[in-house]
């Protein structure tokens, strides 16, 4: 994503590259009347959705509007914490897997296949 290239921080960008990236952002904002408050609201909504599935590093989330290939795009960079990737999962109660998680014993039948 072009917008975040500078955050990754490779070589120092030239004035022309800076101008281009600034333009992409400012034009997307100009065209859509997207203001910082709107982006904050979107950020909060995104975080609440994503953190239901993945653990998010909320301090370092970036949400940005930029123009790319004739489209104004919303970019979000959401760092995920590596250690505890936990997720909620509600399996339907009638599957064998569900029963195992609840501690029930499940009977498994194995068929031996005779190899010739």
């Amino acid at each position: 994503m072009g917008v975040f290239n500078f955050i990754i921080g490779r070589k120092k960008p030239t004035p022309s590259e800076v101008a281009k990236e600034r333009l992409k952002v400012v034009l997307a904002h100009d065209r859509l009347k997207v203001n910082p408050e709107l982006l904050e609201l979107i950020k909060t909504d995104l975080l609440s959705v994503i953190s239901r599935r993945l653990e998010v590093d909320e301090q370092h989330v970036e949400v940005q509007m930029a123009r790319e290939d004739r489209w104004d795009k919303l970019h979000a960079a959401v760092p995920i914490k590596r250690q505890k990737i936990s997720f909620e999962w509600d399996p339907p109660t009638y599957t064998p897997a569900a029963k195992v998680l609840q501690g029930d014993k499940v009977r498994v039948e194995i068929e031996r296949v005779e190899e010739e």
Partner: protein, 275 residues
Amino acid sequence: MDSRVLTITSGKGGVGKTTTTANLGTGLAMRGKKVAIVDSDIGLRNLDAVLGLENRIVYDLVDVVEGQCRLRQALIKDKRLPELYLLPAAQTRDKNAVNSIQMEQLCQQLRREFDFVLIDSPAGIEQGFRNAIVGADEIIIVANPEMASVRDADRIIGLVEAAGKPEPRLVLNRLRPEMIRRGDMMDVADVLEVLGVELLGIVPEDEMIIVAINKGEPIVYDKRSRAGRAFLSAAQRIMGEEVPLDEIEDAPTLVERLRRLIGFGPAIADRRVRS
């Protein structure tokens, strides 16, 4: 052949609209077309000076619109080209002296007499700009490869589309190849990527333009000037000729970059700019 009304606008001031209008108009007349150039920058007229015709003004656009004179009386024949005419702006009035309906009617009148009508729009997005585009078939946007100008150009593109006009084409003016090489100035591909419109021409920065304006002789007459040649190429493209994009030294490498941009394949990739 159908007449065409083209408005040259920019949003931002000082990017070269008047110079571009004067030179495109002169270029078209040099190729044998009958051309009327209209200065719609009421209150701040300059097209007359750029063309060297400031001493010949008797009547102006407001006089015509208010019925003080006939259109023919206000049109000033160019000093050098018999088929080039100027309709000057009024100097002692302001942009509200004319409304959109009057401008549209004026364009209709001019259409009957001329192959091309070029309208020099004022800077800004107010009544003057609206008047300038209302009668246009096509819009040309002039921008410099510099953040503020490109930002305003983008706004103009939006307003032009909202007015129901076809997508404008871009003249990128005042390029400095040395600055582009150093990375201090955006290049053609950068600007096109951001704006997403078709390119009509690129004009390098040229000191001789200031001299030309001071002398009242449009630069397009000067074959030695890169800017002059660039304006002539742009005029040819307006007429539908396919002219390769070699206005500035690094154009071939720029074309390579453009080739890789999505959506700019057909027009630019074969080193030509279609009208």
